[in-house]
């Protein structure tokens, strides 16, 4: 049964249900799309408040998760813009990304997130969005094209370019580490 069909049967649709079912994915997306860790919670709020305001306009043309991801991508883009204006996106210190045993779980979480951010921040925003949604979030290309409101071929093209850029970036990182 599709998510949409499940949703159809769970009525009335309310904010809590949406949140319970999709908050984890929205949170992850925002963190991976370059929203600073300290601002992710605010960005999640913004996504669900936007969804709450637009719930009546939601016509189920796409799955609720796709709809929410579409909102999240825009919120993340705004967050990236405003944080870069405020200078919050500082280069990640090498000491944070250095490998080594860290007993503190929270620190470990932050460290891997910084590591991911360090690599993905080198990609152009459009390619980064598609790579995160397709390869990290495992959404299908059709879902990504619905969420980003771009053509399917554009998704494929950005994904191809994004992967190629990422490969180059990763190659550089490996060399740097070695």
């Amino acid at each position: 049964m599709t998510e949409l069909a499940l949703l159809m049967r769970t009525q009335p649709l309310d904010l809590t249900t949406l949140y319970e079912e999709h908050a984890r994915q929205v949170w992850r997306c925002l963190a991976r799309l370059g929203v600073p860790p300290a601002s992710v919670e605010d960005a999640v709020q913004e996504v669900f408040l936007t969804a709450h305001q637009r719930l009546r306009d939601f016509e189920a043309r796409s799955a609720p998760s796709t709809w929410l991801i579409g909102i999240a991508v825009k919120v993340a883009a705004n967050a990236r813009r405003s944080s870069s204006r405020r200078g919050l996106l500082q280069p990640v210190p090498e000491s944070m990304s250095a490998r080594g045993p860290r007993p503190d779980d929270e620190l470990e979480r932050r460290r891997t997130l910084f590591e991911l951010e360090r690599v993905l921040s080198l990609l152009p925003d459009e390619q980064r969005e598609v790579v995160v949604l397709c390869d990290l979030e495992q959404l299908s290309a059709v879902e990504v094209s619905e969420a980003l409101k771009v053509k399917l071929n554009t998704v494929y093209s950005r994904l191809r370019l994004g992967r190629a850029s990422l490969k180059v970036v990763l190659g550089g990182t490996v060399k740097e580490q070695s």
């Binding site: 049964m1 079912e21 908050a23 949170w27 919670e41 189920a60 290309a141 093209s157």
Partner: protein
Amino acid sequence: MSDENEGPPPLSPELHEFFEAHAKTGEPTQAELGRALLRLHGATRPTRLSVGGRRLLPPEILAVAAVLVLSVGGAFIGWRVRSANAQTEALSTAKAAWVRGDLEAASAAFEACSTAECARLAAAVKRAKVQSENIAGLDEAEAGSLLALDRELSGGARSVMGDRLEQEALPEGSEALFAAKQGNVMLMAGHDQTKVISAVSAFVHGSAIASSSPELARPLLKQVSELVPDTALARAAQKKLESLDAAPLEPKPASPAPASPTTDLGTLLERAKEAKKEKRYKTAVSLLQQCLQDEPNQPDCVVTLASTFATRGSETDNLQDNTRALSLYKQFLEVAEPTDKRIERVREILKGASLETQGQETRNVKTQPSDWATKRAAEAEDAYQRGVVLQERDPGAARLLFIDALVSSDPASSTQQKARAQLEMLEGDDSVLPASVKSQSRSLYLKGYQLRDSDPAEARRLFHQVIAWAPGGSDAQKARSRLEELDASPGLEPPGKSVARVITLAINERVSISVKDVSRTVIRNSTVAEVRVLGADKLEVKGLSHGEATVLIWTNDNRRMDLLLRVSEPARGAMGLLKIASNPIGADVIIDGKATGRRTPVLPSDPLEVPVGRHTIQFEWNGKKSAIQTLDVIEGANPAIRGEIPQ
């Protein structure tokens, strides 16, 4: 096919490793999610109600007061209503029975109630009982009517019949399914339930009779816009109305031919081609049928109609349309001038279709026409036997069963003769004839009339159905004449079934398939698997959940091949966790028909563990049961389930 359609190349090992390493990066903790939820509630909750600028009590206190007033008032009103109106109770009992799929109980409850409304619904449920025996065999109009009845009785809630209709009878992309989904969306968005149900019902009925009785369809479709203005359903109804206004009125068999047929045929053909180009297929078909009515065997009209059916058939995966298209292409070969340049192309199309039926692929599964005929004959005999059993007790239901037997059986079979004899015995007893039969038989006759040239087999079936429904009516007499005409002309053989290749894969498994010259694909049951075209000669399918899906593949030379995907059950031991709530709380949770020993609410801190795969879930509270919900549990997923128990 351009490079752009090929999709990205496969992941290189280093990228794969990178993504694997970061599969969980960015994942929030439970505490972070909980904190954000609390903030969200705070942001969406009014801190204090105010009216006209004057502040009132905090909402919590108002809510408690409201609950108290509603409980006391509700109990009093409930007692008054229950004691004063037992009929209403019968109605709600019947509706609850319908929701849980007990049509026998629903029918009995309606019969216990003596109002006209109950009588109407009792007749409708009886008809539904018969139809439910073979839901997959219903055409879109029948399924749409049944869906409208389901919406009326279930009040928009989930029901067993609704589930079966969605899964077995309503093809993806059908208007009835679209209306049902839009109805649910409107209910979720807080629209008035009565208006939504009426609007969905009007849309489904209006759409079903749009081609056969546009005059009747117009007021129904207008009603949709009035009931639920500014909605997707209203817009769809408006669009349909516009296409009806553009199309000519229903065919008039007795009217004389126009004065200048050549000019009119040319205009009709042009309009039809334009309508086809704009994907207004119903209008195009209607215009072309009118063209053929004026001049049967007109090659341009025949081939354009065939092409219209083929296009619509391939877009909606409608077997009936594909069958009609092939019949028309064959007809075209017979009527076209030998010098006609289109003959070669039509031969190629027919050759492609014939190749499909021969089944050259390995590991093929072929639907045998003989199996289908045997099954249909067995169903007919079964319907006849059930009719005999019910004849004394419920002549109305028996009549419907005999009609079913008559329609399903071979004209020369003994079942058909026996069913006909039984119907003749019942003939004249008008009390057993449902009120809608006359309009239904008229609609069927018109449909058969329209199809008599393009799809004689279907037209025969419809004419037989008209005769069976109201043997003494004028439509039946006309249908007999049409049948005689059809019998006098040689019929065209329907094409064979398409061939399927079977691929078995596990959940999350991706399989690449080589297919030459892929033009496009359509997947049916996309919840089970997904398909990607990786290039002109390569497809990739991925299993999503346990079950079966079909991928329809068209090649550049317009041949079709079907892939049957079987996604196998997940490995034993894989579990999913469920959070469960119900209204009212304290209900027993029943999974796959077995009590789990758990009661709602099942909280996230102590979730219910169930094996991965498809399950049914039901709630029981105080002897009352909720509707059955179907659930696909995915490994590691933690979905929230909610149940509503009728009070």
